[in-house]
Symmetry: C2
Subunit: 340 residues, 2 copies
Amino acid sequence: MNSGIRIGRRAVLAFAAVLLSACAQLAPVADPLPSWNEGSAKEAIVQFVRKTTDPSSPQFVPLAQRVATFDQDGTLWVEQPIYAQVAFALDRVKDVVKVQPALANEAPFSAVVTGDREAMARFTEEDLLKIVGASQSGLTIEAFHEVVRNWAATSKHPKYQRPYTELVYAPMLEAMKYLRSNGYRTYIVTGGGQEFVRAFAEAVYGVPPEQVMGTMLKVDYAVRDGRPTLTNAPALFFIDDKAGKPVGINMMTGRRPQAAFGNSDGDQQMLEWTTGGAGARLGMLVLHDDAQREYAYGPATGLPASKVGSFTQPLYDEAKTKGWTVISIRNDWKRVFAFE
Amino acid sequence: MNSGIRIGRRAVLAFAAVLLSACAQLAPVADPLPSWNEGSAKEAIVQFVRKTTDPSSPQFVPLAQRVATFDQDGTLWVEQPIYAQVAFALDRVKDVVKVQPALANEAPFSAVVTGDREAMARFTEEDLLKIVGASQSGLTIEAFHEVVRNWAATSKHPKYQRPYTELVYAPMLEAMKYLRSNGYRTYIVTGGGQEFVRAFAEAVYGVPPEQVMGTMLKVDYAVRDGRPTLTNAPALFFIDDKAGKPVGINMMTGRRPQAAFGNSDGDQQMLEWTTGGAGARLGMLVLHDDAQREYAYGPATGLPASKVGSFTQPLYDEAKTKGWTVISIRNDWKRVFAFE
């Protein structure tokens, strides 16, 4: 620039914009969803993104409103044969009993301590909640995150013999990234524990803590030894499942999502709320129909019934009525896991 | 570019970066806080931003962690002689009584209906909560926002004879903008109603709904006439005041803020939690000591005691001990309101 011509700020900005735009055109157009087979599920995602991000589209969605919500268990990672957080909580029982030995003789903890598989198989939701609650209460939020991360680094899933955090679905990670690269903020909306998932959500999903909502324990604030602390209390504060999902989404975002992904009856209301809004909306449900690569359970479309992540026929029928896309793992996913 | 030289993507990007950086240097350096007098309060904000955003600073804070939280009543806008939301709720009582006539004969509503100022002056917190609750329960979230916006457009503050939404502090709006232009996400953390504030937060403060947390009513999800709806129920779900502030901030963000702004005993725990973290932290408290331009109340430093937004001497002393900056409206603010 030794010509001596003085250039104004506006001209420089305009020139930079032209150069940056030229860059974008030089970049090769790669398939953003390589783990998906061609078909209606992949097409639904791509068309939704095009319709809502093309400024000339009548269904264009402003950047601020681009919110997509994802259930976790069974939607982003494996939920069989038991939820990862239940596996974590069962592993934690021995540590909890060390601190509170009296629990060893008390149901439901006694069954875990003695390894009574029959009693464990009969555990009610309430029993599991007690175990999950005990696994995290009394710890500060930071200490609990540390415990979860240590567990995640050393735990092994019984079928895959790999850490649970490797059992995330590669096609769903691609969908999240694709949405994010198109200006969508991706939220996790889980019936599992909010702080449990926050412990690894950024590393595993690229989702920051403010975009993780889940079931919450009561949290106590106190100054201990001069240090302000937040500690999990042994009481439920909010259940982020079924009708709790739209309520939790409103609480955390004040917005109705444009897209929602789930896999079970617990996600029904989130999809209703999402797709009940005006304009282009996307509702998707993962159907686990691949016993070989993953698991096969429903009971929708005649798959075996499951206590964990049940996807019933009425939900399947509602999906057809409302135009939600059912993702068949067997047919729609070229690969299920990154390690394949 | 007719020289025929082919330029790669990296070179173009590097060149664009150089040009953009040149632009930044061409831009005039304007005072980001023109409504602040020179002094320690203004200096504290500017130094905090420099220390935490200069990549070469040992106290540099990565973009993702740049969170600043602001109380609303008395920190961002006028809270005297009564909280704006209480004024709103009192105005709403006549509409509520139209729908539920029986309430007209029931305390505390009867006092409002008959204009019994003596009884109203004796209202307890519980009475006010009943009135606030009744003013929004039974409405869908969208309908409630609409009611609030209509009220905000027509209401008049008794002293200023202007809408409450014009009674925001110009210096605080500048501080919010300055922080945002330096990568901070600005959250409102209010003891007032989350949905009440969301109704106008974007227009008034530039704060989107996902960055507004406040006291929450229970919300019910239901499908009515085929339409999914979220409706305020007449029950408190979460009180976002005192110890509730750090708890609410963790719930909504999963992060400890780098900076927190408040003005009363209700903000004490938020400032403790914020400034209790490592690295550069900013805690600021607005002291209302300007009876002429605004109001003068404490009782800290001998100002008249107030039922609304009480700033007690112990909080003032803690501010000195912990290095929080007390903002004197009289001395630190060149102008209080944009309309001055």
